[in-house]
């Protein structure tokens, strides 16, 4: 077993897991945070996207032990009890998702983009979403939502962002 201590959505958390546990399994099975989805498990689909030390990564391709000592933000870290994150709100308002399976990953990729680049061009948004597959929508309403958040200057970092 290996001990992993990380900052998860602003709180320091520790778990003891076998070394072959991926970060995605740690999040879903040890911490019960099932917002990050298991799609392909090989880096193709982006449903498992989380933000580690400010950068979007595929949590299915990272070992939990590789996240030791690092800052991890998942979709659960975005909303507060009373308020959705602007990205979540605009995705809702614009009907950007259909089945929703890709949503948490897409929103985390969008958040990583806006944290670094608050005023992205449409091409920059498309590039940032290149690793997130959606089988239902045509991406355009997601892009509209992200542009709307950027325009409002509301892509503010979550509480735990560095």
């Amino acid at each position: 077993m290996a001990t992993v201590t990380l900052t998860l959505n602003g709180d320091v958390r520790t778990a003891s897991v076998p070394p072959e546990t991926t970060l995605l399994r740690l999040l879903r099975e040890e911490f019960g945070l099932t917002g990050s989805k298991l799609g392909c498990d090989v880096g193709d689909c982006g449903a498992c996207t989380v933000i580690v030390d400010g950068k979007s990564v595929n949590s299915c391709l990272m070992l939990a032990v590789q996240a030791d000592g690092r800052d991890v933000v998942t979709i659960e870290g975005l909303a507060t009890m009373s308020r959705l994150h602007p990205l979540q709100q605009l995705f809702e308002d614009k009907g950007s998702l259909q089945c929703g399976f890709c949503g948490p990953g897409v929103i985390m990729s969008a958040k990583a983009l806006l944290d670094e680049n608050p005023d992205p061009s449409e091409q920059e948004i498309r590039d940032a979403l290149a690793g997130n597959l959606c089988r239902c929508t045509g991406y355009s309403k997601m892009i509209e939502a992200i542009q709307a958040v950027a325009r409002d200057g509301r892509g503010e970092p979550a509480k735990s962002a560095v």
Partner: protein, 323 residues
């Protein structure tokens, strides 16, 4: 994934001390984007993983003798965005930018990119072929549309790395550490073809660590481009790619480096195409002649003949964009 022991050393020396003499038993873990995929499919079942991503000795982009020194554990996203790389070796930044997805580039290291294993589906599905120590290549009579058209045999893999052709074109040197001693190897000598060793793609021994890549600054008067052709519009491995760097003076090509990815078991230097260009003006006729010369000697398999005209066109187009 099978169980393994996980070690996270704090110095390069401690990492090296963990390594043994047998391939596959103790393995280095950098970003893990390739190795973890292999382990999930039981292609690799190491007893021990030695994490190297955090090693200070392997980090960062520093000025070096006549160019840059890039630590093997530097992330591809940091290389693609690096101002010194964009300035001094833009070809490398362009190639790094085309790798996979943003998430992959945020995890993947350049050392891992050079050492990644082939994507041949027989290999990835654990068929007992040359790459798994067997003595047959299933692609020859099988599904070979994505396989090699140049330098194939007995294995017909294509080298999957996007940064490798760029680094060969730039004339980079890789530094390799063996038990505390370091040596430099020109990157062209780092990769090996299947005739030399059908089971592996480079010279690294199990007890060796790639530590650094020395990248000379692109010569004055040079222009470079990386063009990657894929099945889809967004991320994928290259069907074929070309890293081209052309140095002209007074409108005449003095030097040209043309290196192909996705078509041979190693980054393939198209020497004949380079020769065609030297001493000429880079115009449409010259670019077309170089395109044709680049695929001279190509021997496609049953289902990948399309790669010959494709590669020819991609080389021609790449060169014209530099004219």
């Amino acid at each position: 994934m099978h169980n393994f022991a996980y070690i996270r050393p704090t110095t390069l020396r401690d990492a090296a001390a963990q390594l043994g003499k047998e391939h596959g038993k103790v393995m280095l873990l950098a970003g893990g984007t390739d190795l973890l995929g292999e382990m999930k499919d039981d292609l690799r079942v190491p007893e021990k993983l030695v994490a190297i991503r955090q090693l200070r000795e392997l980090q960062g982009i520093r000025p070096g003798r006549g160019g840059l020194r890039i630590g093997a554990a530097t992330l591809l996203s940091d290389i693609a965005e690096s101002a010194p790389v964009r300035e001094q070796a833009p070809l490398l930044a362009m190639a790094a930018e085309t790798v996979g997805t943003p998430q992959i580039r945020n995890m993947a290291t350049i050392g891992g990119n050079l050492c990644q294993r082939p994507r041949c589906w027989y290999y990835r599905n654990n068929y007992p072929c040359f790459k798994h120590g067997g003595s047959v290549c299933y692609s020859v009579t099988g599904e070979n549309e994505y396989h090699a058209i140049l330098e194939g045999g007995p294995s017909y893999i294509v080298h999957p790395s996007d940064t490798a052709p760029a680094l060969v074109a730039l004339g980079a040197t890789v530094r390799i550490s063996t038990g505390g001693r370091e040596r430099g190897v020109p990157i062209e000598k780092f990769f090996v073809g299947p005739r030399q060793d059908p089971a592996r793609e480079n010279i690294l021994q199990p007890n060796e660590i790639l530590t650094e890549i020395e990248v000379p600054s692109a010569p004055a008067g040079s222009k470079a481009v990386y063009v990657k052709e894929m099945v889809r519009e967004v991320w994928d491995f290259a069907l074929c790619s070309v890293a081209a760097m052309v140095t002209t003076s007074g409108g005449i090509v003095g030097d040209a480096r043309i290196v192909l990815g996705g078509v041979a078991p190693f980054p393939y230097r198209a020497l004949k195409a380079e020769a065609v260009l030297k001493g000429r003006r880079l115009d449409e006729a010259a670019a077309a002649a170089a395109g044709a010369a680049a695929v001279d000697g190509a021997r496609p398999l049953s289902k990948n003949a399309y790669k010959v005209p494709l590669t020819q066109a991609v080389v021609t187009r790449a060169l014209l964009s530099l004219a």
